[in-house]
Amino acid sequence: MSSITDVESTLSRISSHKGVKGVLICNHSGSAIRSSLPPDETEQYSALISQLASKASSVTRTLDAEDDLTFLRIRSKKHEIMVAPDKEFLLIVVQDPEMGGE
């Protein structure tokens, strides 16, 4: 029980951060587990970002077998997508740094 509360409160802490537009957790197969985004966006983010993250991870490991991906940032005109990957899950946070900065 407490663990679940912690999960939710942690997520809410992240999502209440300045400029954060969405927070989602997905697994490596691209299935969303938690999300604050609308369903269609969630679907896209989880599916696409998990693929990119696993690609990035494989690139990192190919370059150096002992290395591994720890964080992935994608800067776009509108957003910054930050991905914290782990063995089982990915935490994806979409931030609008411009908005947060204002």
């Binding site: 999960v7 691209g30 935490l91």
Partner: protein, 681 residues
């Protein structure tokens, strides 16, 4: 039920019916759909206790953004995005829309044919607060594999928490630093590819604020200037008026790419030029760089028409004047003008239209200067000995001695020793000129020589047709003796007034289609010895293979073209400047980019209340706020993404080109050669 039914969009698969056996909580009997088994009979999920607790906790949770519980979605919908990476096609999670008052979870499986809701309308309440299903959904226990769920339920939650604990600190750090980071500020400017607006950055508008410069030039530079200056009888006020409103006639970069230098004069000057011209240099890397105050400013007694930077010596520039002088400047010296050629029939007497440096044929790292002028001569100079040109060739309409001279307006040189020269003429002709030196590097003494001849002079004699040599030597020596010279050097040779045709052989070997009107620009490719481009006042830009009379490519120049330059770093990039502005074009793909001056805030019009009469100096105000035709253009050879262009308002513009226009492209040089070097059509 039906109104709450959620159908995954675009899924063409049947949706499995919801299996209430594990979806409904024990306290949720009222929500069981009529068509389904009583949810209360559902197998007890180990997570249920937790779910109940969760429901409670969610009520008081401050977590507001996260209003959507996770549900299981038909795999087909999700798999649109999964691609090959989807490992588990049987289930995927998604969120349900909260558009309706209560959010309903659906569960689908591969074999199922329906998608149903756990709850019905009567049960409509915010899920977070009341629905047991929600609790479960919130827990992400929505796997249709009961065994899996049983085993994984608690584990997954624990894992999730463990995961979050691990990644949250770094994520929060990143979020915080992102807001403060300026790493990506202004990065958008570089995003445009070729052809996109704003892809090129206008860096500087270099202007001369004449009033200020006049004063500083008078204070500091007068002495040095007058050494070579003429017409000093003019009054000071007249001089001041002269120099205002000049056009930029030439631009060049120095050997290190840090200094941009420009010459000022008027291209349409009738007859002899008594008005002063100027040369100004801006060091772009200087800490005290000021776009309105050049680091070096030198006046000259006549208009300057073109300038070229020495390929190796960073401080050395050579300018050509309207009256035909070649002027060597060393900007590191307090009085920059170090040498000037005389005006003579055997030198240049017409405006020097173009200058170029070319490596010496003896490969000792020295350079020759090549000049072309409106008098139809191409002359080769050693810039340390500007008393006389080391040699020259005549640019005629055809390769016959009797054909008329061509007034050269543009020049390009290729190969050591100036082996291949192309000259464009005032009348629009484009000819190839044989510039190779026929004289041996160490000529033996001629039988007819009585006096001592310098090597240069002997070489000059070797270039004379054999049957004319003896007679020429006699006349030169006679003149030298009359002048009481001890020996014969080049100046003695020219002083003897030898016939033009003997001393300057006909250089023209091949004529090209050319332009209708003045050839303003001519440049050879840095990537192919056979390819050169021309631009004319007829508004066309031609790309030629040297072996073919007809241009391989003709481009529309948008108005008269005054300068053409190939990129030094990317084979297919050709830039031209003219009445239509500055265009950077990819000759392979045909894409074109306009370089536009962007007026920056720091360029402010001069104050009206300044002591100077503003009516006499229209240049600053008008030049900064109205577009003007461009007259000159230069790629930076070292800082390869910079390009400078001078306009007819006397402003020098510097742009930074995007990487797409300057970086070497893979296979691009190959493609360039394939396209332009083969002429069989």
């Amino acid at each position: 039920m039906s109104e709450a039914k959620y159908t995954p969009s675009d899924s063409d698969q049947d949706h499995s019916s919801f299996d209430p056996s594990y979806k409904t909580g024990p306290s949720d009997p009222s929500s069981s759909p009529p068509n389904h088994p009583d949810p209360s009979e559902s197998k007890q999920d180990p997570s249920l206790d937790d779910s109940s607790s969760l429901a409670t906790s969610l009520k008081v949770s401050p977590f507001t953004d996260f209003s959507l519980p996770a549900t299981v979605l038909a795999p087909a919908a999700a798999s649109r995005f999964h691609g090959s990476l989807t490992q588990d096609s049987s289930t995927s999670c998604d969120l349900l829309s909260t558009k309706e008052q209560d959010t309903q979870a659906i569960l689908t499986n591969d074999e199922g044919s329906q998608c149903d809701f756990k709850g019905d309308a009567s049960h409509c309440k915010p899920i977070k607060r009341h629905s047991k299903e929600d609790k479960k959904e919130g827990e992400s226990e929505d796997y249709d594999d009961d065994d899996y769920e049983e085993e994984k339920g608690d584990d997954e939650k624990a894992d999730l928490l463990k995961f979050l604990k691990k990644v949250t600190p770094s994520m929060l750090d990143e979020l915080r630093s992102n807001l403060e980071s300026q790493a990506f500020d202004n990065v958008e400017k570089d995003w445009g590819g070729i052809g996109s607006e704003g892809s090129s950055d206008h860096l500087h508008s270099l202007t001369l604020e004449w009033s200020k410069i006049e004063r500083t030039a008078r204070e500091h530079g007068k002495g040095s200037l007058n050494d070579f200056g003429r017409n000093e009888a003019k009054t000071v006020s007249a001089e001041e008026e002269d120099i205002v409103g000049l056009e930029t006639t030439g631009v060049a970069w120095n050997a290190t790419g840090a200094i941009v230098i420009a010459t000022f004069g008027l291209l349409n000057n009738p007859g002899w030029c008594n008005s002063r011209g100027a040369l100004a240099a801006w060091n772009l890397t200087d800490r005290n760089f000021d776009s309105r105050k050049p680091s070096i400013f030198v006046e000259h007694s006549s208009h300057l028409m073109c300038v070229v930077g020495h390929p190796v010596k960073p401080a050395v520039f050579v300018a050509g004047s309207f009256n035909g002088e070649i002027l060597v400047y060393d900007t590191s010296l307090p009085s920059p003008l170090t040498a000037a050629s005389k005006i003579d029939d055997y030198f240049h007497r017409e405006p020097i239209s173009s200058l170029a440096f070319v490596p010496d044929s003896n490969s000792n790292g020295s350079y020759q200067l090549v000049s072309v002028s409106g008098d139809g001569k191409v002359l080769f100079w050693d810039i340390d000995k500007l008393k006389a040109p080391s040699r020259g060739v005549m640019v005629l309409k055809e390769s016959k001695e009797s054909s008329p001279r061509l007034g050269g307006s543009a020049l390009a040189v290729q190969g050591e020793g100036g082996g291949d020269l192309w000259v464009g003429s005032e009348g629009g002709r484009v000819v190839r000129v044989q510039g190779r030196d026929k004289a041996p590097a160490k000529p033996g003494k001629m039988k007819a020589c009585d006096m001592k001849w310098s090597t240069n002079a002997l070489q000059a004699i070797y270039r004379v047709p054999a049957h004319q040599r003896d007679e020429l030597i006699r006349s030169i020596e006679k003149r030298a003796k009359a002048d009481k010279r001890r020996g014969v050097d080049l100046s003695a040779l020219y002083a003897a007034r030898p016939p033009f045709t003997s001393i300057f052989p006909v250089g023209t070997v091949f004529g090209y289609k050319g332009h209708v009107g003045r050839v303003g620009g001519l440049d050879c490719s840095s990537f192919s010895k056979k390819v050169f481009a021309t631009g004319g006042s007829d508004g066309e830009v031609h790309v030629y293979n040297m072996l073919s009379k007809e241009p391989i490519r003709v481009m529309e120049g948008r108005g008269a073209v005054s300068a053409v330059k190939w990129s030094k770093t990317r084979s297919s990039i050709l830039a031209w400047a003219g009445d239509g502005g500055v265009v950077v074009s990819d000759v392979i793909s045909g894409e074109e980019v306009d370089l536009k001056p962007a007026w920056k805030e720091n360029v402010t019009p001069p104050k009206e209340d300044e002591e100077n009469d503003t009516s006499n100096q229209p240049s600053v105000l008008s030049s900064l706020f109205s577009p003007a035709p461009f007259s000159s253009l230069a790629f930076n050879g070292k800082v390869r993404n910079l390009i400078a262009a001078g306009d007819k308002n006397g402003v020098v513009h510097v742009w930074r080109l995007p990487q797409e226009l300057v970086g070497r492209s893979q296979g691009g040089e190959e493609e360039f050669k394939n396209t332009f070097e083969s002429i069989d059509k």
